[in-house]
Structure formats: structure tokens, C-alpha cells
């Protein structure tokens, strides 16, 4: 396998979108696209799968909810069922309305924080991580599409030149 990639630069997101569609139609493999801001519909044009992070958030919320119920039941009902201001601490359900604010907050806390941590882990983001952008201009005003070289390099370059690119680089990965 050749480890060469072609980096085609664009200066407009509409041109980039058209280029992505053309490259996909010609069955070239797009390794990665770097953009300075979210381009609406780019994931669909690239054929990326939908994210499952909402599903993980739901499950984390269920964990937080269960944790809150277990914690309140253990502390307030089982461990030391004290009479605090006449609240009925005989069973969990008799005193449940007082626990609902905590059950709600812990569900949200678990869902939000664990989802964010999941996001960081899946997208490999952490402090002191080395930045991966191929060209510093991609954080400012340039869009870069990386296409794997598979077969005829010259043909691929001339194909990409016709997609409205402003600059083409060939690099070893």
C-alpha cells in the first residue's frame, strides 16, 4: 500500500462540497477533510455514519438515575431512617417527592459529563495533545481534502485540479 496522500486545498465551502461529491462519485477514497468551521451537510456528502453519542447519553442518564435512587434509598430509608421534620421515611415511595430533585440532577450530571468524556475519548482529545492539522491555514480560511493515492497519481492530481482546488500538495503520510 502506498502511503502517499494528496492534499487538495479549497477556499470556499460550497466548492468543497461539490468537490467531495465529485471525488466520491469517481470512487476515490477521502481520508479526511479539514475545515475551519462546521460545514453543514459535509458528513452526509462524505457518507459518514450518524453519531451514536445520543444513545450513550441516554444510557449514562439511566445510570445516574439508578445511582440516585440507590443512594437515596440506602442513606435515607435503609441505613438510618431518621424522622426529619415529620417526613415519612418508612418506604422509598412515601418520601420520593423529596428525592426527585436529586434524582433529576444526577441523571443530567451523569448523562452530560460521561457523554462529554466519551466524546473526548472517541475523538482523541486531551490536554497536551499534538495538533493534527496538515496546514495551519485550515484553522483560518482554508479547506483541505486529503485523498489517498491509489494507482495513477498524475491522473488523480489532474482530476482534483478540475474540482476547483486552489493548491495541491502531495505528501507522505
Amino acid at each position: 500500500m502506498s502511503s502517499k496522500v494528496i492534499q487538495a486545498m479549497y477556499n470556499d465551502d460550497d466548492i468543497l462540497m461539490d468537490a467531495v461529491k465529485e471525488v466520491r462519485a469517481a470512487h476515490h477514497h477521502i481520508e479526511e477533510v479539514y475545515t475551519p468551521f462546521p460545514v453543514h451537510g459535509l458528513d452526509k456528502a462524505m457518507g459518514l455514519k450518524g453519531t451514536r453519542i445520543a444513545i450513550t447519553a441516554f444510557m449514562y442518564g439511566c445510570v445516574g438515575f439508578s445511582f440516585a435512587i440507590w443512594m437515596m434509598n440506602y442513606m435515607m430509608i435503609e441505613q438510618w431512617p431518621q424522622d426529619i421534620g415529620g417526613k415519612p421515611s418508612f418506604t422509598f415511595f412515601q418520601n420520593m417527592p423529596a428525592f426527585v430533585p436529586i434524582m433529576f440532577e444526577l441523571s443530567v450530571f451523569f448523562a452530560a459529563h460521561l457523554m462529554v468524556i466519551t466524546f473526548y475519548m472517541r475523538s482523541r482529545l486531551w490536554p497536551f495533545k499534538e495538533a493534527e492539522n496538515p496546514d495551519p491555514r485550515t484553522t483560518d480560511d482554508m479547506f483541505v481534502m486529503e485523498v489517498a493515492v491509489d494507482g495513477n497519481e498524475k491522473e488523480l492530481i489532474s482530476f482534483l485540479e478540475n474540482t476547483g482546488t486552489v493548491e495541491i500538495k502531495v505528501t507522505e503520510k
Binding site: 445520543a54 441516554f58 415529620g86 417527592p97 423529596a98 426527585v100
Partner: protein
């Protein structure tokens, strides 16, 4: 243009006729005197004993009765007599208020969409206008109901009864607000304000269809904003007048919002259901599943909003447990346990789990199923707001309750779909119409 299908017209007539017969039956089957009630009560006690069924509140009453003289038996029967007399009236009132609330909530949602200059909902404006067409009809029916109440045809609002007020210092202190002329004047003012905006807005959007400039649209924007200010004040007072005053000893500060939450979620559900019906018949080809997705998001969000207010009101009163406030929930919890707790499942748990998934919100039959559950749940919500004060432990969802719903539903369907057939279903003069037609989420 939509044509009112003859099938649906026949269906609405059938609902009205069946409902009317049931309502008449409900009024005719009320007991005529306290003596009848005593016989009824003895029969029911006997059958209870046979089945060996005894639940706590009843056992409590029996224990209390054994300590007092036979006089309490008479007062018990008299209470039950008043409750049973109120039953068909209350059933009618719940249905009247429920359907009026659907169209009033739709009007509020409509005004919000105009004032917020929403781009997505323009294709649904004519559907909303159709639903709000019930507003004048419902207002007249409700107002007649209030006039009949104030003429003592029923005893729903006990503060209207001079005998009761004479022996009740708490109500006497509220008589500056709770008196019949002022009550009727207030009701007339709210209704006039809502109907005036509705008719004005309808006139302006119809004029905008053929206009060459945006002057109608600008007027509509301004009047919608003004209406919303009026609506929030009048809606809050309406909920004190029409619902909270049924329990004149009790008060709650967030009651207006709570009624509003119930109102807006059922109204949005109705908009979704009517849109899906019309789209199924091929009249709304410009409505796509992203519009339904947005409506379903509102159904989901406002269901949670309703639960939030329901719980806030319940939990604050439960936690502090102040006797004069807590009786409201004690009577509901003891005598209405199944509807009181069941509506939480219908109005919160079910929509929460079904409408959370983004894909499900685009599937029409999911929206229809959840919508029917939400509408039923909010009927129960209104039922539990009104019935404990008027029929107490004598409640039952039987012929008077169901036929009242059928009667008003028939009128509602007839009025709404007649109005829908009066104008094109696309408000083509609106400046956001192109955006709305191409709306995609």
C-alpha cells in the same frame, strides 16, 4: 382548497347525536331527592359488603360515622346528592373546557409563531387557524354554561351560592373578586380579547394572500405580540376564575402556568394530528416530515414542561404540608388515585420514552399514537382539576363523561374542518413561505 369530506361530516354529526343522547341521559338519570340517594348508598354499601371490598377512606368514614349520631348519615347522603346532581354538569364542563383549551392553546402557539417570525411553521398556519375557528363557538358555549351556573342551575361554583357564602368567612373575604357579575364580566373580557385577535389575524392573513406589499403581515406581527401580552395575563386570571375558584378555599401561585402547560401541549398535539390527517388525504403536500419532527419536539418538550409544573406545584405543597393547602392533594390522592397518578404516566413517561428518539418523531403513526395518549392524559388532567371539587368521591368516567366528550368533539370537528375548507391551506402571502416550504431539519 380543502373540501370537507362527507364521511367526516357524517362522523361529526354522529358524534354530536350520540353525545347529545348520552348527555341528556346523564341529566335524566341524576337522583331527584336525598331519599333516592340514601337508597342508592345503602345498595352500594350492601354490594360492597358482599364483595368484601373495603378500602381505607371508606373504612375511615364508617369509623367516623359510628361515633356520631344518625344525623351524619343524612349529611353524607345530602353531600352525595349534591355531588350526583353536579355530575352531568361537571362532565359537560370538563369537555367544554378541554376543547376550548385546545383551540385557545393553538391560538397562543399561532401568535408565538408570528411574533417569533418562525420560518418553519408558516405552512401550518392555516391548520392552526382552522383549529382556532372553534374559539368563538366554544366561548359562547362556555359563557352560556357560566350564566347557567350563576343562575343556580348547578352547584359547581359554591361561591355563587349566597347560603354558602353567608356561613363561610374565607369566601366572604374573597367576595371582592369572586362575585357573579364581576366573574361574568371578566369571562366576557377574556373571551372578547381572544376572539378579537383570532378574527383580526384571520382577516389579515387572508388579505396578505393577495397583497402586493407586507403591510398586513406587519400588522399581524404587531398584533400578535400585543395579543401575547394580553393572553398571558388573561390566561392566568382565567385559570383562577374557571378552575381554581371551584376550590375557593385553596390557592396556588403557579396554577395559571400549570393550566397553560396543559393547554399548549394538547394544542400542539391537535395541530400535529390535524396536519397528519390532512396530509394523509393529500391536502398538505408542502408539509414534510421535518415539520412533523418539529411539532413532535414541541409535544415532547411541553410534555416535560407540564410535568415540571405539575411536580413543582405538588412537591412544594407536599413538602410544606400546610393544612389549608394540602387538602387539595389529599382529596385527589385518596379519591382519585388512579387518574391522578395515571396521568403522569400518560403525560410524562409515555411521551418521554416514545418521543425521545429523533427518528421516531418523523414517523406519523408514532406521533398519532403518542398524540392520542397525550390528549387523553390531558383530558384526565382537567378531569382531576375539576371533578374533586364538584363531584368529590362520586366520580366515575361513565356515560355522562364520555358522551360530553363525544358531543363537544363532534362540534369541534365540524367547526374546525368547516373552517379549513373556507381558505386555501397554504398562506402564500407570508414572506417566510419559501423558507417554510423548503424547511428541512
Amino acid at each position: 382548497m380543502y373540501t370537507f369530506s362527507s364521511k367526516l361530516k357524517t362522523f361529526s354529526y354522529a358524534l354530536m347525536i350520540v353525545g347529545l343522547i348520552g348527555v341528556a341521559y346523564g341529566f335524566l338519570s341524576t337522583p331527584n331527592s336525598v331519599e333516592d340517594v340514601k337508597v342508592l348508598l345503602e345498595e352500594s354499601h350492601a354490594s360492597h359488603d358482599e364483595a368484601a371490598v373495603s378500602h381505607e377512606p371508606e373504612a375511615h368514614v364508617v369509623a367516623e360515622e359510628s361515633n356520631t349520631t344518625a344525623h351524619s348519615d343524612d349529611t353524607h347522603a345530602e353531600h352525595a346528592f349534591h355531588y350526583l346532581k353536579n355530575k352531568p354538569w361537571s362532565a359537560l364542563y370538563v369537555a367544554l373546557f378541554f376543547f376550548f383549551m385546545l383551540s385557545l392553546g393553538a391560538l397562543a402557539f399561532y401568535a408565538i409563531q408570528h411574533a417569533a417570525q418562525a420560518g418553519w411553521s408558516v405552512v401550518l398556519f392555516r391548520v392552526m387557524e382552522g383549529i382556532t375557528a372553534y374559539l368563538p363557538v366554544g366561548a359562547i358555549l362556555l359563557f352560556v354554561f357560566f350564566v347557567l351556573s350563576s343562575l343556580h342551575f348547578n352547584h359547581l361554583f359554591i361561591w355563587m351560592d349566597a347560603d354558602v357564602v353567608a356561613h363561610d368567612e374565607l369566601i366572604q373575604n374573597k367576595a371582592g373578586y369572586l362575585n357573579v357579575p364581576f366573574f361574568l364580566i371578566r369571562a366576557a373580557i377574556y373571551m372578547a380579547g381572544w376572539i378579537a385577535y383570532r378574527q383580526y389575524a384571520r382577516k389579515l392573513t387572508l388579505a396578505q394572500d393577495n397583497a402586493t406589499d407586507l403591510s398586513n403581515y406587519t400588522k399581524l406581527f404587531k398584533s400578535s405580540a400585543a395579543f401575547l401580552v394580553f393572553f398571558l395575563v388573561s390566561e392566568s386570571m382565567m385559570s383562577w376564575d374557571w378552575i381554581m375558584s371551584l376550590d375557593p378555599h385553596w390557592f396556588s401561585t403557579l396554577f395559571g402556568w400549570y393550566v397553560f402547560a396543559s393547554m399548549i401541549v394538547s394544542a400542539i398535539t391537535t395541530i400535529a394530528l390535524v396536519s397528519i390527517y390532512l396530509k394523509g388525504k393529500g391536502y398538505l403536500e408542502f408539509v414534510n416530515n421535518s415539520h412533523m419532527h418539529d411539532l413532535a419536539k414541541f409535544m415532547f418538550g411541553f410534555s416535560i414542561f407540564w410535568t415540571y409544573l405539575w411536580f413543582s406545584q405538588f412537591m412544594l405543597i407536599w413538602y410544606a404540608d400546610i393544612p389549608e393547602e394540602v387538602t387539595y392533594f389529599v382529596s385527589r390522592f385518596n379519591e382519585y388515585k388512579i387518574p391522578f397518578l395515571g396521568m403522569l404516566v400518560l403525560n410524562f413517561v409515555f411521551p418521554l420514552l416514545v418521543l425521545m428518539n429523533s427518528d421516531f418523531k418523523r414517523v406519523n403513526w408514532f406521533i398519532v399514537c403518542t398524540g392520542l395518549v397525550i390528549l387523553f392524559g390531558h383530558y384526565i388532567d382537567i378531569f382531576v382539576m375539576i371533578m374533586p371539587a364538584t363531584v368529590g368521591d362520586q366520580w366515575f368516567i361513565g356515560i355522562p363523561e364520555i358522551s360530553s366528550v363525544l358531543l363537544i368533539a363532534g362540534i369541534f370537528i365540524y367547526v374546525v374542518f368547516t373552517a379549513l375548507s373556507k381558505a386555501p391551506l397554504l398562506a402564500k402571502g407570508n414572506p417566510f413561505i419559501k423558507e417554510s416550504e423548503h424547511f428541512h431539519y
